[in-house]
Subunit: 377 residues, 2 copies
Amino acid sequence: MRKYRLFAPGPTAVAESASLAMAGSIIHHRTRAFEAVLEEVRRGLKWLFQTKNEILILASSGTGAMEGAVTNLFSKGEKVIVVDGGKFGERWWKICKAYGVEPEIIKVPWGEAVSPADVEKLLKKGGYKGVLVQASESSTGVTHPIEKLADLTRGMKDCLLVVDAISALGAMDLPMDRWGIDALIGASQKALALPPGLALIGLSDKAWQAAEKGNLPRFYFDFRKELKGLVTNQTAYTPAIGLIFGLAERLKAMQTEGLQPLFERHQRLSDGMRAGVTALGLALFAKSPVNSLTAVIAPSGIDGQKIYKTLQEKYNLTIAGGQDDFKGKIFRLAHMGHYDDLDVVTVLAALEWTLADLGYRFEMGAGVGAAMKVLHG
Amino acid sequence: MRKYRLFAPGPTAVAESASLAMAGSIIHHRTRAFEAVLEEVRRGLKWLFQTKNEILILASSGTGAMEGAVTNLFSKGEKVIVVDGGKFGERWWKICKAYGVEPEIIKVPWGEAVSPADVEKLLKKGGYKGVLVQASESSTGVTHPIEKLADLTRGMKDCLLVVDAISALGAMDLPMDRWGIDALIGASQKALALPPGLALIGLSDKAWQAAEKGNLPRFYFDFRKELKGLVTNQTAYTPAIGLIFGLAERLKAMQTEGLQPLFERHQRLSDGMRAGVTALGLALFAKSPVNSLTAVIAPSGIDGQKIYKTLQEKYNLTIAGGQDDFKGKIFRLAHMGHYDDLDVVTVLAALEWTLADLGYRFEMGAGVGAAMKVLHG
């Protein structure tokens, strides 16, 4: 008997109530019944994004919203600052280059967060129309200092703070309006605990003004057209109806839990996971870790990919390995979405068995025990 | 007690077996289990598209694949012929203009099919890199003569036939390789009987060569990157995993039915529906009707929107009204996907009651009876 368990930093396990909501009949989107659901979803998303503005719902993976942020908010030849501290920071400047936006790249070593002073120095030079960054860099488990970056851009008339929060939204506090984030991006398959296929993006008033002026080509990801539809409870193109039913269900559950308890739960899960991992003598990779996932340095002499693969093949439990230069050197444990204290114990137990299988020497149960102490009561 | 019934030309009702497949656990896409599913889906799609080449699977609605066809296959300033015989023909040239491709528009009156001679005349002038057309123009229920257009472009070295078959794929025979279609586009929420959220596109060798040379900006819909992933059973970005599980299920069911029986079923459903509608004294709108939907002219004195709305509100059955200039003048009945002979009877019965409610005079049961005669074995 093999049970499958999904604990990767996206996609994450789907909440059963959402699966059941999505398994129901598809209702046509040009009906009052669907529009009522979308109206409720719009309200829920504003609550989750902590903004008064609309959140666009795109039928795409998160990368689609990242591309849309670039093509809607900037113009050809404009310069932006890109924080590149991993795979997803890299994606920002690749999208920019594909569309003729000129990225000034702040290269941050993997595992580290950008220094706001480095961004400030560039901003003082002037001429930058945006700062593009990750709230959670999924490839390293790092959170960049979004609030401090927002302090830099908030007062600037024509520089936007564009935040990929795909693996952060719903796991950490990112009060869009209060901090002054100009574009905040999420996706369904992370802390929202839905299958992949929906991207979400909220824009500030300043960003909407930029979207009116931008001259880059866009069609499927034309945010102006999406907004026009959304205020009548429609989308520009056929919406991913099933996923939107799931989203309605998840937003209800998250609202019942409450915003601060949601963030506190993710913080507690992180604390538990990190206590467990360090009790095993392992070192954390991220200097400024996000609370939706934990990147761990593979112990010397053990290939991190073997840890990932043994968990997958022997224990039927999916985590994530390292990427690019860090393949084999780190592995990543997610703790977000439909995930509770006992899931931390489950992951750590399977990790301990895996480490033992691979010849790592430690006191079995030490990680689980340390996590249990942190997580109890 | 109100049962909901979905008979619109997309989204269509989802097959229960697919709903259940999608309601199962999400398996991470970087696993052998998912790759095995994707490998099976790739085989099934080649069968459905009748091509030896790969079919790309995009997390987007069908419009995303249409945009990708334009941005991957053409370059800035290139001229293409666009057949505009409705809402979706119009979409082709809007996408072209958004990206700086120059459309020569053949405007076809709504309800009519393009004349191959008109396309041939333009092609003889030379300089066109593509012909963009619909196999099924969902807004009018017309099928354009794809085979004849393919006869024109097949021998041309650098002119591509790009076919939006979103509401045709799986309902009518479009043998991609045999006819020489260069790009064929489908989507999940039509004859595939899945929820919206997946777009599909197959490219000929000639189209792949063009994709290598194209200079338009593209990132999320970069077909070269998708193909590179697909041959290893992956996608460029996080796939819509749930929908792909549903697609695997649907392809299995369609393969069990068989390609010709699938097309014959849709033909039979069309024949039944049209016999029913005309027996009520109503006239068909499309001169060259596609077999996935039937557009009907509203009887004089009765607002077509009232027919659509009464079916929706009184009988909880979604069809589609007319669009743009034909709003109120026509209504559209789909018969595709997870749809059988008794569904034709159901729709016609509700339509008859609706017409009676709105004061149209006819012999009640005449439409249903006529359809039953055609459909009875």
